[in-house]
């Protein structure tokens, strides 16, 4: 294993995890496209490493939110029955879906994330009591499924579930979603690990970089208004979506040709 590649993986994880942590998104949404596009890493290896990174981010940044009482742990464990069921389903499906469909699905999720960023999140009007739980549970099941298939935290589905279906304040839903992401990713990572599909030489530097980034990102979340990073996020998400879309059709403009 060349040390240069390990350092590069560490750096990618550090940067993406800081970016992701700031808005309560897991960094997997950046890690898989960056590793496959720029690092020429196999998409399944990238997904396995990304799942470990997602767990590391979630665990590494949970403590401050718990201390601030922003995390709704009872709601989290309830919704985790849906996210882990979805993840288990994703574990079964993962081996059956052809790689170019994974790229396509990833592009769709990136575009949805960009659209969500563009629309801005608002604190729901009126009471913050939990409403429309069945819709929330259904979205969470989908989030778990997508998380297992693509190695991401699925904030893109968790956030509408929290905001629209459950009507929680943004800070509470971000903290709760972040808390749940670790368990959701662990449900699929456990299967990938048992299958021997998590490649240590890739996953280890990614996990280490993610922890460092998540710790820094969590501190930034407390101080920086979400607004400032919105535009940057939309731009990056759009670019990555375009590249994943090209990859779905077998075109890669960046890096050496495979």
């Amino acid at each position: 294993m060349p040390i240069g590649l390990e350092l590069w993986l560490f750096g990618v994880a550090l940067g993406t995890s800081m970016l992701g942590g700031v808005l309560g998104m897991a960094s997997g949404i950046f890690i898989v496209p960056v590793l496959t596009m720029f690092g020429r890493v196999d998409i399944h290896t990238a997904i396995g490493a990304s799942l470990v990174s997602v767990i590391a981010c979630s665990c590494g940044s949970a403590a401050p939110f718990l201390k601030e009482r922003l995390t709704n742990i009872r709601l989290a464990i309830l919704l985790e029955t849906a996210t882990t069921s979805g993840a288990l389903c994703g574990v079964f499906l993962a081996g059956l879906i052809p790689t170019h469909y994974l790229y396509l699905l990833f592009a769709v999720i990136l575009l949805l994330s960009a659209q969500q960023m563009l629309a801005r999140r608002k604190d729901p009007e009126g009471s913050s009591s939990i409403q429309r739980l069945p819709l929330g549970m259904t979205l969470m099941y989908g989030a778990g499924l997508i998380s297992a298939l693509l190695g991401i935290g699925s904030g893109v589905l968790k956030i509408p579930a929290m905001d629209t279906a459950l009507r929680l304040p943004i800070k509470v839903s971000s903290a709760t979603s972040n808390f749940m992401i670790g368990v959701t990713a662990a449900a699929s990572a456990a299967a990938y690990f048992a299958r021997g599909e998590i490649v240590t030489s890739v996953a280890a530097p990614i996990a280490l970089g993610s922890v460092a980034g998540a710790v820094l990102g969590a501190h930034i979340l407390m101080n920086v208004p979400n607004e400032k990073l919105r535009l940057m996020f939309i731009g990056i998400l759009g670019l990555l979506a375009a590249q994943m879309l090209l990859a779905a059709f077998g075109i890669n403009l960046i890096g050496p040709r495979s």
Binding site: M1, C59, G60, L66
Partner: protein, 100 residues
């Protein structure tokens, strides 16, 4: 209601500590493994793999702590919910071992 709030505050502190120190331990093991791999190759990678395993185990441990806490607080409804989540994670692991 106040008693419940105090109890959940306790649980939040406990989970915060578990995740914080668990992350530190897993990261330290991975860092040690990567450092060793430069010198000793496969041995180092084995240590790093153990660190990755600890990371994957950490959320499951968090659910197990919640399960024990809910049962001790005689909150059987949430105890059952935590047990279900733990069961689903275990099924996923065993599905993986059978497919390996």
């Amino acid at each position: 209601m106040n008693a419940t709030a105090a109890v959940s505050g306790q649980l939040e502190n406990l989970l915060g500590k578990l995740l914080h120190y668990g992350t530190l331990a897993a990261s330290a093991i991975i860092a040690l493994g990567l450092a060793l791999s430069v010198a000793a190759g496969a041995l180092g990678m084995g240590v790093a793999t153990a660190g990755i395993a600890l990371f994957i185990l950490l959320p499951a441990l968090r659910v197990a702590v919640m399960l024990v806490f809910f049962l001790r607080a005689r909150d059987y409804r949430y105890g059952a919910i935590a047990a279900l989540v733990l069961l689903i994670i275990s099924i996923s692991f065993f599905v993986g071992t059978r497919q390996a």
